[in-house]
């Protein structure tokens, strides 16, 4: 009897046959899914923008430039800005997106979401005509285009129950934590050429690869490097890899030995062989600084690798190598813990390679993998930590410097304090023009290089697996725009 029940359970498993691949919508597998269909709630605006449902007034293009999106232009008018909308814009419910609707959207976003208020406070908004709105931020804003590209200001119309947005897709069915079914927005250009899409949240990297192999997933976003050799052997699949706007780096806690000594930090910067990191991660580019090369304000020269110079710096700092190669000073070994986290598998992969580079010049390095790195960083309970972040989410580089390197910032995890850097950031707040801002950012970058509170490692490539139906998909260099208007499906 008991075995019969077991057999019945197994038979139940065999009844689930894959759906017809020709009739189903394109299935996108990825690790994240919106928590809400209201872009004014929490961080839903970010996910909805990534899903191709929400849009902002400005956006960041493939080259990392901020470009108009729903807005045609924005111009300064004293302490205010005049936003001019593109003509004939519509929400997914067919209603017009005019200046009055734009005002309602910005009003609601800043009222409902503290993150939106973090961008422009509670602004004064005046409708000038059908296409123009005057926006006066509560506090001074330099790079307004960048602010208007931020997800908390996603444009939407709320009818008291549902939010309607302007992206190329609109939501049809939402299962929180599981899936989101989308159909082409009928009021967006080229509606007939876009397929229906189902986004499935798949939290495990191996499951994502298996879903692609089994034919259930058409676009597998951000595949783990270790799955690539297996997937590349399947002729029906295409793997596309693209450098992204994220940067991998090592944060050094300047309040803790040995990284309270700038020479030790500089030695780490010089000692790491980035080409080995790239080999281990199955692709990528040597970092030139805080920003991936896609951005116009990125530094040009790759970070230098010179182990001999690194050794000299350590000698100068008083860390002398013993017979076994281990460096000591005043009876203390040159050692630290390198913390990393599994949510970015690449970082776990490259940690031993970093250790090898550093142990070659006399460091002793312990590797620690933690499930929740952010709390550890915030509590500053670490020596050195590997970290991945989008370097310019709004298309402007000032943001990360302000957040990570200003001495008073809550997210200055390195406890880095530099008066010249703070002063340079103050000056940057007064600069509007993009070329001048780029030059200023590069200047700040040089100041940071000299102090090395952060060791920039590499710009990763992300791997997207595609079925035959989705083979024309072109990955964007970030996860901010996974689904876009150019999505097509082959028959």
């Amino acid at each position: 009897m008991q075995f019969r029940i077991l057999a019945a359970a197994a038979a139940l498993a065999l009844t689930a046959v894959p759906a017809d691949a020709q009739t189903r919508p394109l299935v996108v597998g990825q690790g994240f899914l919106t928590d809400s269909l209201d872009p004014a709630q929490g961080v839903a605006g970010w996910a909805l923008q990534s899903h191709g449902v929400a849009e902002t007034l400005f956006t960041v293009d493939r080259e990392g430039r901020i470009v108009p999106n729903l807005a045609e232009s924005v111009r300064r008018d004293g302490e205010s800005f005049i936003i001019r909308l593109k003509p004939d814009l519509k929400f997914a419910d067919g209603s017009l997106l005019d200046a009055t609707a734009l005002k309602a959207s910005l009003d609601r976003a800043t009222k409902e979401n503290p993150r939106a208020r973090g961008q422009i406070g509670t602004p004064a908004l005046d409708v000038l005509n059908a296409r123009e709105l005057r926006l006066r931020p509560e506090r001074p804003v330099a790079a307004i285009e960048s602010v208007l590209a931020e997800f908390p200001l996603a444009i939407h119309k709320f009818d008291g129950t549902n939010a309607s947005m302007t992206g190329p897709f609109r939501a049809v069915e939402f299962k929180r934590g599981e899936s989101l079914r989308l159909e082409p927005n009928p009021f967006y250009r080229d509606v007939a050429s876009r397929p229906a899409v189902t986004i499935r949240r798949i939290g495990d990297a191996q499951t994502l690869a298996l879903g692609l192999e089994s034919g259930e997933v058409d676009i597998a976003f951000n595949l783990a490097p270790e799955t690539l050799p297996r997937l590349k052997r399947r002729p029906e699949l295409t793997i596309k890899s693209t450098p992204v706007a994220y940067q991998y780096m090592a944060l050094l806690n300047t309040q803790r030995a040995p990284f309270d000594d700038v020479k030790v930090r500089q030695a780490v910067d010089l000692a790491i062989d980035r080409s080995m990191l790239i080999a281990a991660a199955n692709g990528g580019e040597t970092a030139t600084g805080m920003f991936p090369r896609v951005f116009p304000f990125a530094s040009e020269s790759p970070r230098k690798h010179d182990a001999r110079e690194a050794e000299k710096l350590l000698d100068d700092a008083g860390w002398k190598a013993g017979a076994n190669g281990q460096r000591m000073k005043d009876g203390r070994a040159l050692e630290f813990t390198l913390t990393t986290y599994p949510q970015r598998p690449d970082l776990v992969t490259i940690a031993p390679v970093i250790r090898a580079s550093l142990e070659r010049i006399g460091f002793r390095v312990r590797i620690e993998v933690t499930e929740a790195i952010s709390p550890q960083l915030q509590a500053k309970r670490y020596d050195a930590a590997l970290w991945a972040m989008h370097a310019a989410p709004g298309g402007d580089g000032a943001f990360v410097f302000e957040q990570y390197l200003r001495s008073t910032s809550a997210t200055n995890f390195m406890s880095f304090a530099s008066a010249p850097v703070d002063a340079a950031l103050d000056r940057l707040r007064e600069i509007d023009a993009a070329p001048a801002r780029a030059a200023a950012l590069k200047g700040i970058e040089q100041l940071v290089f000299a102090q090395a509170p952060v060791v920039y490692l590499m710009t990763p490539v992300w791997h997207v697996g595609l079925s035959k139906r989705a083979a024309s998909y072109v990955p964007y260099p970030s996860d901010y725009y996974v689904l876009r208007a150019d999505l097509r499906a082959s028959p």
Binding site: T15, S36, G118
Partner: protein, 306 residues
């Protein structure tokens, strides 16, 4: 009897109140500020104004005793607050996710129990027979093979190689492999306990006497030792059932099941205070319920307790 029941009830309420206090204290003692974490995770400015605004929105700007009192009051009246991360009512999330975890957890234990009897009886009768070998291998395998690895292997075999199931399956079929994995991990400990109980009885004088009187070994073992072995099994089952709430996270992640485990993992990383506090209280209530049921089972199985 009513007095004893009232005393037990009061004791349970006291334990739950202590659990709520411990939940609040432990969660709030965790390093890091959820507002800053939430902003950093999505590349936003953690400036003091925005952090303060989030604190106000989440009610974290009050003194801790006031926060505790307000939270407990809301919790008892059914308002479990909203998740910092998802913005959704926590009670709704629990109501939706708990059944998923219970199906996987209890489904696994049920399937394991189906196999416990035959394997344990076979192993008790013939310590070197096939049942004993299978049981030892299952016990060792459950300890040595990580659930996520086993899950990926099964998915690869059934979904990719044989293509008889969906990786992203819908409906009841999606629960089959997760349940089998939980059953696999639970089978060894449960069957070993049952086997030990039967083996102990099989060495007892009264059992040998029964055999000497001509009783059938299988029937005699069940008749003489079944109740005793099930008593031990109920204790082991209590321990296994205790972690059903939230303990199936690995399987849920691999198979993409929206259960309580995955919600909990995300919530820990984001310091989602109200989710974690609610979970600890629910887990405590669950353990009390399981202990209550187990006590009832022991009462039925052990005549000495009556």
């Amino acid at each position: 009897m009513p007095r004893a029941a009232i005393a037990e009830g009061l004791r349970a309420l006291l334990l739950l109140w202590l659990a709520s206090l411990a939940a609040f204290a432990v969660v709030r003692a965790m390093p890091a500020d959820p507002a800053v974490l939430s902003l950093v995770a999505f590349g936003q400015a953690a400036d003091p104004d925005t952090v303060a605004a989030l604190h106000r929105e989440w009610g974290l700007d009050q003194a801790l005793p006031l926060q505790y009192a307000a939270w407990l009051g809301d919790f008892l009246t059914g308002d479990w607050r909203r998740s910092f991360k998802t913005g959704a009512p926590i009670l709704d999330e629990f109501a939706k996710r708990l059944p998923v975890s219970l199906i996987v957890g209890f489904g696994g234990l049920f399937v394991a129990l189906l196999a416990v009897g035959p394997l344990a009886r076979g192993a008790a009768k013939r310590p070197n027979g096939w049942a004993a070998r299978v049981l030892d291998a299952a016990t060792l395998g459950a300890q040595a093979i990580p659930a996520f690895w086993l899950g990926c292997l099964l998915l690869w075999f059934f979904a990719v190689e044989l293509r008889v199931i969906d990786v992203l399956g819908e409906g009841p079929a999606r629960y089959v492999l997760p349940i089998l994995i939980v059953a696999f991990t639970g089978l060894g400990p449960l069957a070993q306990v049952y086997r030990a109980g039967l083996a102990e009885v099989s060495r007892a004088d009264y059992f040998r006497t029964a055999l000497a009187k001509g009783a059938d070994p299988d029937t005699a073992l069940e008749a003489q030792g079944g109740r005793y072995a099930r008593l031990g099994l109920s204790a082991a089952l209590t321990a296994e059932a205790g972690w059903v709430v939230g303990g199936t996270a690995v399987v849920e992640v691999v198979f993409g099941l929206p259960g309580l485990g995955t919600f909990l993992v995300d919530s820990i990383a984001m310091r989602d205070y109200f989710v974690l506090q609610a979970y600890i209280v629910v887990a405590a209530a669950w353990m009390l319920a399981i202990a209550f049921v187990a006590a009832g089972a022991r009462h039925l199985l052990d005549p000495r307790l009556r």
